[in-house]
């Protein structure tokens, strides 16, 4: 189990680095799926089998498929890849990289100064998780349901195609205006 944790941790870090350096969106998404699967293995070794299954089903299964469908709909070509490549070359990494590295160093320092503690081999079964979820955190479940409903309605409202005509009179006025403009232009 110990070796599985370290191997999957290395795979997760490597594939996540690949995600943020790719220029092609589909390649980045496939690397992100690999990274999520590796994190799922980490969850399994940490004694959370239910969450590991959910990570595979919901994150790698549903959310990434949504991403891939949107990338397919947008149909980004060579042109965007070229501009990405131009943007990513060289100096753009320096500023954010240094600032984030300082933050990471602080984090490592804080971790190193803490009391070292080893995780015990304890698998928390799904039954225990769901009992806690539906007794202690039942209000959170309701709020999550409302959030998801708002997400669905918001996504539909933002993503739907609006008709250009607001009202037939306004449309006629616009047509008249266009005609006048054309007339002025030809005059």
């Amino acid at each position: 189990m110990n070796i599985a944790f370290y191997i999957s941790a290395v795979i997760a870090i490597a594939s996540t680095i690949m995600v943020i350096t790719r220029t092609n969106a589909v390649h980045a998404l496939l690397y992100l799926i690999v990274s999520l699967l590796a994190v799922a293995v980490v969850f399994f070794t940490l004694g959370a089998p239910f969450i590991a299954a959910l990570e595979v089903i919901v994150y790698a299964g549903a959310i990434m498929v949504l991403f891939i469908f949107v990338v397919m709909m947008l149909n980004l070509g060579e042109k965007s890849e070229e501009s990405e490549r131009k943007l990513l070359s060289g100096k753009i990494w320096i500023g954010p990289g240094i600032l984030s590295l300082i933050l990471l160093m602080e984090f490592i320092y804080l971790l190193a100064n803490g009391v070292p503690e080893r995780l015990q081999e304890n698998v928390i079964p799904p039954s225990e998780v769901s009992i806690t979820l539906f007794t202690k955190y039942v209000l959170g479940v309701e709020l999550a349901a409302m959030l998801l409903m708002a997400g669905v309605i918001g996504a539909y409202h933002i993503g739907r195609k609006r008709k250009k005509v607001i009202h037939r009179f306004i449309a006629e006025e616009e047509k008249l205006k266009e005609k006048e403009e054309v007339n002025e232009y030809t005059r």
Binding site: L54, I63, L88
Partner: protein, 101 residues
């Protein structure tokens, strides 16, 4: 098993840091959304580690909530991306500068 808790927390920190760099460096909106996903996942990993450290199911419950938030955020974000692409014909965040003073 005997994995040190610090190592697992360090993994979540590194993943969060990679996501942060990606968010700051990339100018393509779809890559920025992917970096946000990475960061949310890393935060969830920290919750799982702490739940495993204190042998309580609460950490896993928190991950479930993070999962719900991520799903809602992705659905709205992708709808916004489609709108932006239909209107501006580009995904470059620098092009969307009509709020610039």
């Amino acid at each position: 098993m005997n994995i040190p808790a610090e190592t697992a927390l360090l993994l979540s920190g590194i993943l969060f840091f990679i996501g942060l760099i990606g968010l700051l460096v990339r100018r393509n909106i779809i890559f920025m959304l992917m970096s946000i996903e990475i960061m949310l996942n890393a935060a969830g990993l920290a919750f799982i580690v702490s739940g495993s450290k204190w042998i309580q199911p609460d950490g896993q419950v928190m991950f479930l909530f993070i999962l719900a938030v991520a799903a809602a955020e992705v659905s709205v974000g992708l709808a916004l991306i489609i709108r932006v692409f239909n209107r501006f014909k580009t995904l470059d965040a620098d092009e969307l500068s009509s709020l610039k003073g």
